[in-house]
C-alpha cells in the first residue's frame, strides 16, 4: 500500500482533552438554556456557564501533577504550563461572566448569545495553550478570535462598538495572515508543523532552512505580537477596548492575552537556538512596548483607554520575562504565569469596577465618571485602589510579586537594561493608575445628579474575589513557581 494513503486513526487520551470538551459542551448547553429562559433574564445561562467552567477547572486541576505527555498523534500536549494556562483562562472567563449579567442588563443588551460565545472563545484559547503543533495553534487562535469579533460588536446601537468590532476584525484577520505565513515558512524549513523540531533543524546548519526559519519566526512574531498587543502592533488595543462592551474588553485583555503569551513562550523556547537573532529584536520590542504603553496612558482621560494602554505596558513586562526565559529555559514558566495570574485578577477587577458606569443604554467611562464612587460604595472603591496598587507593583500584592519575579529573572540572565527600563516604567505608571484610584475619592460635581446606584451583586463578588485573590496569591507563590519549574 502506498505510504501516503496510510492513515492510522490516532489514539486519543480523552482525559487530556476533557476540560476543553466540557467548556465546549457547556457552550452548547448555554445556547439551549437561552431558549427556556424567562424574557431578559439570563440567570439560568449564567448558572449553567459557571457550573460548566467549575467542572472544567476541576478536570484540569486533577491532571496538574501528572507528567507531561502528548496525545492525538502529538497534536495535543498536556503539560503543567498548558494546564495552568487553562486554569487561568477558565478563571478569567468565569470572572468575566460573573460581572457580565448586571452590566449587560444596565446597558440594555441582555443577549443570551454572549455566554456561549465567550465560552467557545475560551475553548479556542485553551486549545492554543495546549499544543506544540503550529496548525493547532492557528486553529485555536481562530476559534478564539472569531467569537471575539462578534462579541466586540455586541452593543449594536453604539457606533463605537461597531467600530471596535470592525477594527478588530480587519486587523485581526491581517495578523492571522502573518501568523499563517510564518507557519508556512517554518513548515518549509522543517518539513513538519511541530515546534519541537525547530532547534534541531537550526543546529543542522543548512543555510536554506536558516533563512526560512528566520522569516518564519519574524512573521509569527508579528502575528502573535498583534494578539498580545506589543508595540508597534498595539495601536488597535485602546480603540477596541474603549468601544467594545466592558466585559468583552476584560475578556480580551486577559483570556486572549494569556493564550497569546503562552504560545509566544512556547515559540520562543522552541526557537531558543536562534536567540542571537531574536534577542535584540525582542528586547527592542519589549522596551518599545513598555514605553509606548505607559507614555500613551499618561494623557488619556478615559478609563477604558487607560486600561487598554496599561495592558500594552503589561505586555512589555511579560516580554521581559519571556526574553529571560528564552535565554535560560531553566528559569521555568513560573514567572510568566504568575505575572499573568496577577494581571488577570487586577485587570478583570478594574474592568468590573468600570462596568458600573453603564446605565440605561449609555456608558461613559471618563475618569470623572468614577467620581463619588467612594460615597456610593466604599468597598468597591477600596478594591479599585487595591487593583491599582497591584498594577503598580506595590507590596504586598500579587502584582508586586509578579514584578519581583520578572526583575529576578531579568537580572539572572544579565538583562540589566531591561530591568532598569521596567523599573522606570513602573514609576511612570503610578501617575495614571493613581489618577484612576484618585477619581473615586473626588466627590460628584455639583451640576450632575448624584448617582446612588449600588454595585450589582456580580460586580461586588468579582471585586471581592479579585481583591482577596491578589493577597492570597502572594502566599502561594512558592508552590506555584515550583509547579512550573522546568528543572
Amino acid at each position: 500500500m502506498d505510504k501516503a494513503f496510510h492513515f492510522a486513526i490516532p489514539v486519543i487520551d480523552w482525559t487530556a482533552l476533557l476540560p476543553i470538551m466540557i467548556v465546549a459542551v457547556t457552550g452548547i448547553f448555554a445556547l439551549i438554556a437561552e431558549m427556556f429562559r424567562p424574557k431578559h433574564n439570563n440567570n439560568l445561562i449564567v448558572g449553567v456557564s459557571l457550573g460548566g467552567l467549575a467542572l472544567a477547572a476541576v478536570a484540569s486541576a486533577l491532571s496538574l501533577q501528572q507528567p507531561s505527555y502528548t496525545t492525538a498523534a502529538e497534536l495535543f500536549l498536556r503539560d503543567s504550563l498548558g494546564t495552568v494556562a487553562q486554569l487561568l483562562i477558565l478563571l478569567a472567563t468565569a470572572l468575566t461572566i460573573s460581572f457580565s449579567e448586571g452590566y449587560l442588563r444596565n446597558k440594555r443588551i441582555p443577549f443570551g448569545e454572549f455566554y456561549p460565545l465567550v465560552l467557545w472563545s475560551s475553548v479556542g484559547a485553551m486549545i492554543m495553550t495546549s499544543t506544540m503543533n503550529l496548525l493547532v495553534i492557528f486553529l485555536g487562535l481562530e476559534i478564539l478570535s472569531v467569537s471575539l469579533y462578534v462579541m466586540a460588536g455586541m452593543s449594536r446601537s453604539e457606533e463605537k462598538s461597531e467600530e471596535s468590532a470592525l477594527k478588530y476584525f480587519l486587523l485581526g484577520a491581517f495578523a492571522s495572515g502573518f501568523l499563517l505565513y510564518g507557519i508556512a515558512f517554518v513548515y518549509g524549513a522543517t518539513g513538519g508543523l511541530d515546534l519541537n523540531v525547530v532547534n534541531a533543524v537550526w543546529l543542522r546548519h543548512e543555510a536554506s532552512s536558516h533563512t526560512l526559519l528566520l522569516f518564519g519566526f519574524g512573521l509569527m512574531l508579528i502575528g502573535l505580537g498583534f494578539k498580545t498587543s506589543m508595540a508597534p502592533f498595539h495601536q488597535w488595543t485602546p480603540d477596541v477596548y474603549q468601544g467594545a462592551p466592558t466585559n468583552v474588553a476584560a475578556f480580551m485583555a486577559t483570556a486572549a492575552k494569556i493564550a497569546g503569551f503562552v504560545t509566544l513562550l512556547r515559540v520562543v523556547s522552541a526557537f531558543g537556538a536562534l536567540h542571537n537573532f531574536w534577542l535584540p529584536a525582542l528586547t527592542a520590542i519589549a522596551i518599545l512596548t513598555m514605553f509606548a504603553g505607559n507614555f500613551a496612558a499618561l494623557v488619556q482621560k478615559d478609563v477604558k483607554r487607560i486600561l487598554g494602554y496599561s495592558s500594552v505596558a503589561n505586555a512589555g513586562y511579560v516580554m521581559v520575562a519571556i526574553i529571560a526565559f528564552g535565554r535560560d529555559s531553566s528559569l521555568g514558566y513560573g514567572t510568566v504565569m504568575y505575572f499573568l495570574l496577577s494581571y488577570t485578577l487586577m485587570t478583570i477587577g478594574a474592568f468590573a469596577v468600570v462596568s458600573m458606569a453603564a446605565k440605561n443604554r449609555r456608558e461613559s467611562t471618563k475618569l470623572e465618571d468614577l467620581n463619588g464612587l467612594w460615597r456610593r460604595s466604599p468597598f468597591v472603591a477600596l478594591t479599585l485602589v487595591i487593583f491599582m496598587a497591584s498594577l503598580i507593583g506595590i507590596p504586598p500584592t500579587a502584582g508586586f510579586v509578579g514584578k519581583f519575579l520578572i526583575f529576578f529573572d531579568a537580572l539572572k540572565t544579565d538583562q540589566i537594561p531591561l530591568a532598569i527600563v521596567l523599573a522606570v516604567n513602573s514609576i511612570i505608571s503610578i501617575y495614571y493608575y493613581m489618577a484612576i484610584a484618585r477619581a473615586v475619592f473626588v466627590s460628584d460635581s455639583a451640576d450632575v445628579e448624584p448617582d446612588t446606584s449600588k454595585p450589582s451583586a456580580g460586580v461586588a463578588a468579582v471585586c471581592a474575589v479579585c481583591a482577596i485573590g491578589i493577597f492570597a496569591a502572594v502566599a502561594f507563590v512558592g508552590p506555584f513557581v515550583g509547579l512550573l519549574s522546568t528543572k
Binding site: 467612594w374 507590596p395 503610578i430
Partner: protein, 607 residues
C-alpha cells in the same frame, strides 16, 4: 513564643476587628482602635525584659519559609537599634490614634489605615529578610496615600500623588538592588537567600563582593537613594512639605516615624553590606546631610505655614541623624540613632499641638495666630517644652543627640574622613534651628491678639494634656538619663560600625554573635604602643592566626579578656590577640578615626 510577630501583627488584627464592626458605632470603634494601640505598646514593652543588651546578634528571631524556590522567608529579629524604634512606633501610634478621635468622616476606615501603617512600620524595623523588609517598607504607601487623599487638606490629591511617586520611584531601584544582592549571594554560595544575616556573613568575609566590586557603588546607591527619599535627604525631600501640609495630623505624626525607616535602612543595610562603597561615598553623603541641615533650617524660617515649617525642620533634624550615621564613629552613630528617637518625640509633640490649634481654628498659618499665650497658657507651656527639645537645649533629649552627633562628626573629620567644613556648616545649623523655632514661638504666642477669633480659644482639655504630657516625660528622661535609652543600643551600634569599617575578614557578623566585638575592635585605645611595633614592622597579619613566636604577648592591650562574653568559636590561642590589622601604612583605608581618646595609635605618627 513569637513575641515579635505578635507585636507586628497586633495592629493588623485590630484593623480586621474594626472591619467587622458596623460603621456607625463610633464609640466602639474609638475604643477598639485605642485598645489595640495600647495593647501593642504594652506588648512591645515586654521586649525590654527579653532583650539582651550585651549581644549584637538578632534576638527573638523567627524564621519561616515563604517563597522557598527563591530563598525568601519571613524572618524577623530584634537588635538594639530596632528595639527603641519599635517602642517609639508603638508609643507614637497611641498618640496618633488618640489625637484622631474626633474625626467625623469615616472614622473606621481612618483607624484601619493608621493601624495598617503601624504594622508596616513595625515590620520594617524588625525584618531581617531583604524582601520582607521591602514588602513592609512599601506597605506604608497605600494607607498613607489614602490618609492624605481622603482626610487631607485642600491640595490633598497633588500631595498624595507626589508622596507616592517620590517614594515609589526611590524604592523600586532598591528592589533591583535587593535582587542583585540575592543573586550575588547565589553566585557566591550556590544557594539563593535574601536573608540579611546570610548575605552580611558573605560580605564580612569578602566573598560576596570579590567578583563584583565594580557593581558595589551602584547597588549601594540603589539602596541609598531609597533611604534618602524616605529620610528625607537634601535633594530628595520635596515630597515632604506637601505631605506634611496636607495630611491629617495622625498621618504627620506617623510620618515622623516613617522617616526613620530611611535612616534605619542606612544603619541596617547600607552600613553593613557595602563597606567598600561606603568609604568612597561618605563625603558626598555627609555633605548632603549638612546641606540638608542648613537648607532645611533656612527655608523653615521663612515658611508662612506651621506645618510646612515643621516639614523643613524635620529635614534639618533628620540631617543630623544622617550626619551622625555617616560619621561612622561610635559617638556619631550613637548620637544619630538617639537623635532619631528625639526627633520622633519632639516633632510629635509639636505636630500634636499644631494639630490641636488646627482643630480649634481650622488653620495653621502663622498670620492667623499671635498672642495666644494669655489665652492658652498650658498649650503655650507644652509647646515651649517641645520646642526647646527641638532646639536642643541642654537638659532635654535633643541636646544629647545633637551634641553626640557633632562630636562624632568632628572626630571623623579630624581623622580625614571628610572635610571639617561640612561639620562646621552643620554646627551652624544648630543656631539656625534656634532662630526659626523661637521665631515661630514668638509669632504664635507672643504679642497681642490680632485676630478676634483667637480671643475665645479654649486651652487644652485634660485628655489632650495627658497625650502631650506622656511625650514631655520622655523629653526630660531622655535629656537627663540618656543612658537608659542608649545602653541597649550601644553594642549593636558598635557592631554596625565595625561591619562598615572593618577590613575583610575583620568584620563582625550577625550569625556568630558569640564572638565578642573586642575581637574585631579597631577603635579601642591601644595604650601599649610597644605591642604594635612588630606589626608595624611586619605589616598586616591574618586575623586569628596562631601567633608567631616572635610576637610578644601583648598583655593588657585594651582588650577586655574574659569579660563575661563567651570565647569565639575559633579557639584562638590565649596569646593571640586581635591586634588591629594594619594595611600599608598611611593608607586611607586604615580605620584610624573615631578613637574616643585623644591618644592616637602609633601608626598615625608615621605620616
Amino acid at each position: 513564643m513569637n513575641l515579635l510577630s505578635i507585636i507586628i501583627f497586633l495592629p493588623l488584627l485590630g484593623a480586621l476587628a474594626l472591619l467587622a464592626l458596623p460603621e456607625r458605632k463610633t464609640k466602639t470603634i474609638q475604643q477598639v482602635s485605642m485598645l489595640t494601640a495600647l495593647l501593642t505598646f504594652v506588648t512591645s514593652l515586654g521586649l525590654l525584659l527579653k532583650f539582651d543588651g550585651e549581644s549584637y546578634g538578632f534576638q527573638l528571631v523567627e524564621r519561616y519559609q515563604w517563597i522557598a524556590p527563591l530563598g525568601i522567608g519571613y524572618k524577623v529579629g530584634l537588635d538594639g537599634i530596632s528595639l527603641m524604634l519599635v517602642l517609639l512606633t508603638t508609643l507614637l501610634s497611641i498618640v496618633a490614634i488618640g489625637c484622631s478621635m474626633k474625626i467625623d468622616q469615616r472614622l473606621r476606615a481612618f483607624m484601619i489605615c493608621v493601624l495598617i501603617l503601624e504594622t508596616a512600620m513595625l515590620g520594617t524595623f524588625l525584618s531581617t529578610d531583604l524582601v520582607l523588609f521591602f514588602v513592609f517598607f512599601e506597605l506604608t504607601l497605600i494607607p498613607m496615600w489614602l490618609l492624605i487623599n481622603i482626610w487631607g487638606g485642600k491640595n490633598r490629591a497633588h500631595a498624595a500623588n507626589k508622596f507616592l511617586i517620590y517614594t515609589f520611584a526611590g524604592s523600586i531601584f532598591m528592589l533591583i538592588g535587593i535582587i542583585s544582592l540575592g543573586y550575588l549571594y547565589f553566585k557566591t554560595t550556590g544557594r539563593l537567600s535574601f536573608d540579611l544575616v546570610d548575605i552580611q556573613a558573605q560580605v564580612a568575609n569578602g566573598k560576596l563582593w570579590a567578583t563584583a566590586i565594580a557593581a558595589q557603588p551602584y547597588i549601594f546607591w540603589a539602596f541609598a537613594i531609597a533611604f534618602l527619599v524616605k529620610s528625607p535627604g537634601f535633594p530628595f525631600h520635596t515630597w515632604m512639605p506637601d505631605t506634611y501640609a496636607e495630611s491629617p495630623i495622625a498621618g504627620v505624626i506617623l510620618s515622623s516615624v516613617m522617616v526613620k525607616m530611611g535612616t534605619f535602612g542606612f544603619l541596617r543595610f547600607c552600613l553593613p553590606l557595602f563597606p567598600e562603597a561606603l568609604k568612597s561615598q561618605v563625603p558626598l553623603l555627609v555633605a548632603l546631610a549638612a546641606i540638608g541641615i542648613v537648607y532645611g533650617a533656612a527655608v523653615a524660617a521663612v515658611q508662612p505655614d506651621m506645618r510646612r515649617m515643621m516639614a523643613y525642620s524635620s529635614l534639618s533634624h533628620m540631617g543630623f541623624v544622617l550626619l551622625g550615621i555617616f560619621s561612622l564613629t561610635r559617638m556619631g552613630v550613637l548620637g544619630g540613632v538617639y537623635q532619631q528617637l528625639n526627633h520622633g518625640i519632639s516633632a510629635s509633640i509639636l505636630f500634636l499641638l499644631v494639630g490641636y490649634l488646627a482643630q480649634r481654628r481650622g488653620s495653621t498659618m502663622f498670620s492667623d495666630f499671635g498672642g495666644l499665650k494669655a489665652q492658652t497658657p498650658i498649650l503655650a507651656a507644652i509647646f515651649l517644652l517641645g520646642m526647646l527639645s527641638s532646639v536642643g537645649l541642654p537638659g532635654t533629649n535633643g541636646f544629647v543627640g545633637e551634641f553626640l552627633v557633632l562630636l562624632g562628626s568632628f572626630q571623623a573629620a579630624y581623622a580625614d574622613q571628610f572635610s571639617i567644613g561640612v561639620v562646621v556648616l552643620a554646627a551652624f545649623g544648630v543656631v539656625l534651628t534656634a532662630v526659626y523655632l523661637l521665631y515661630m514661638f514668638q509669632r504664635i504666642f507672643y504679642g497681642k491678639i490680632t485676630n478676634p477669633e483667637n480671643a475665645n480659644l479654649a486651652d487644652l482639655s485634660r485628655s489632650e494634656v495627658a497625650l502631650a504630657g506622656v511625650l514631655i516625660v520622655f523629653i526630660f528622661w531622655g535629656g537627663l538619663v540618656p543612658n537608659s535609652f542608649m545602653k541597649p543600643m550601644k553594642v549593636s551600634v558598635d557592631a554596625t560600625i565595625l561591619m562598615a569599617k572593618g577590613m575583610v575578614d575583620h568584620r563582625p557578623h550577625w550569625d556568630s554573635p558569640e564572638t565578642p566585638l573586642e575581637y574585631y575592635n579597631l577603635q579601642k585605645p591601644i595604650r601599649h604602643v610597644e605591642a604594635l611595633k612588630p606589626i608595624i614592622r611586619n605589616g598586616p597579619k591574618p586575623f586569628l592566626m596562631a601567633a608567631p613566636p616572635q610576637t610578644p604577648s601583648p598583655a593588657g592591650m585594651g582588650i577586655r579578656a574574659g569579660s563575661g562574653a563567651p570565647k569565639p568559636a575559633a579557639a584562638a590561642p590565649a596569646d593571640s590577640k586581635p591586634v588591629a590589622p594594619k594595611p600599608a601604612l598611611g593608607s586611607r583605608l586604615a580605620p584610624r578615626s573615631g578613637s574616643a581618646t585623644p591618644a592616637k595609635p602609633a601608626p598615625g605618627g608615621t605620616r
